[in-house]
Symmetry: C2
Subunit: 211 residues, 2 copies
DNA sequence: AGATGTGAATGAGTTCACAGCT
DNA sequence: AGCTGTGAACTCATTCACATCT
């Protein structure tokens, strides 16, 4: 069970998150054990892939029986590093930024929104979820003070590039971008685009030929 | 240039969306032509893959010259069916739903939010972006009246399954789910999960081993 | 000369199918 | 008997490298 984080493919990793979610749901429904078959049926996943993915990280199952839900969930959670708290700073506290803060949980077990900044003076100073919105100009200071590790870009498209630069300059090395733009990237900063519009375009494309 | 939508892989399709976005940005900056090389440099994409992807759908480029931005953007837009308008109904008009409505554009060229429903009586009747929030109970009627093709689930986790069922019963065959749950799926309904928490978990996982 | 479009080669990811454990 | 873990087979996706066209 020794592996290097960078050798884990995002695809596999994302599936682990999905398995964990499924396990939690089954747990809440009172189940204690599950086989790859059952898990697959329930959530439209491939049993073979579930076994392959899990086996990559350890022998979590028992032959003839399946997986013990609580203990597997626990192990996946540690594997995904959800047992340590990660701190987020959200850039852009408009509709989307506020919604994301709530969605991620201001004060989640694994994720903690430690700061929210905005360039709109009308929003600066407003309280939200036990947090006071600060000025975008102070971003570097805010990051230093809070030790934020992950930056979340939730500004309009036009402002996304400067939000990115601000975060990069402030020393944030991991950024999640929700603005629908392709950013000019910098060396040494990990960027993950979550472009909801592209997902929408995908769904629309596969829509039946219409009436 | 004849192909069946279902033969296009989501990976390729998503990249087409990305190329289109990149082209629009270059266009706005005043460029008229671009080579796969330049496009790749600018947005961290592989030139070979750009050429391969584009060539799948037609001979869009000119050897020795590259691609004409405006015309390629136009062609991609048509390919992605962004020249026809798609109608959305958003289930759950809280923070996230409202933010999504704004993000997708209430009245975009390609996407049109035609209705928003919510189960909270306090929200029903409220106006937003030229739309009046309607009751979740009326979902079927709303869908019939508006002809909504795509359903967007933006309710809290607990309510997502019933939102899904409501949409499916109302006849919506394509659903984008933003709630962080694995839904029990139904035959004949295309579901795309956009789980922002999973994206966050990915970024957190690859974070350097901490200080 | 310079960039595309594309067979061929490589690599990544998934599924099969079964040996091996409980 | 039943389900995992896993080599081997296969499928899908990306990259190479170059003939081909302007």
């Amino acid at each position: 069970m020794t592996f290097d984080a960078h050798e884990v493919s995002p695809l596999t990793l994302n599936r682990l998150s999905i398995y964990l979610r499924g396990l939690r749901q089954l747990q809440q429904e009172g189940f204690e054990h599950v086989s790859s078959q059952e898990l697959g049926n329930r959530f439209r996943l491939s049993p073979a892939q579930i076994r392959r993915d899990l086996a990559t990280f350890g022998d979590f199952g028992v032959r003839g029986v399946g997986y013990e839900i609580a203990s597997l969930a626990e192990k996946l959670s540690r594997l995904l590093k959800l047992d340590v708290r990660h701190s987020l700073v959200i850039v852009g506290m408009g509709n989307l930024g506020s919604a994301l803060a709530g969605y991620f949980g201001f004060n989640d077990k694994s994720f903690h929104v430690v700061a929210g900044v905005d360039s709109d003076p009308l929003r600066v100073g407003r309280k939200q979820g036990g947090l006071t919105i600060e000025s975008f100009d102070r971003l570097a200071e805010v990051v230093r003070r809070t030790g934020a590790q992950i930056g979340v870009i939730a500004v309009p498209a036009e402002a996304a590039q400067s939000a990115y630069l601000g975060l990069a300059d402030a020393g944030v090395r991991s950024i999640l971008n929700f603005a629908p733009v392709l950013l000019r990237e910098q060396e040494g900063v990990r960027l993950k685009n979550v472009d909801m519009r592209i997902h929408l375009e995908e769904v629309a494309f596969y829509l039946p030929p219409a009436e």
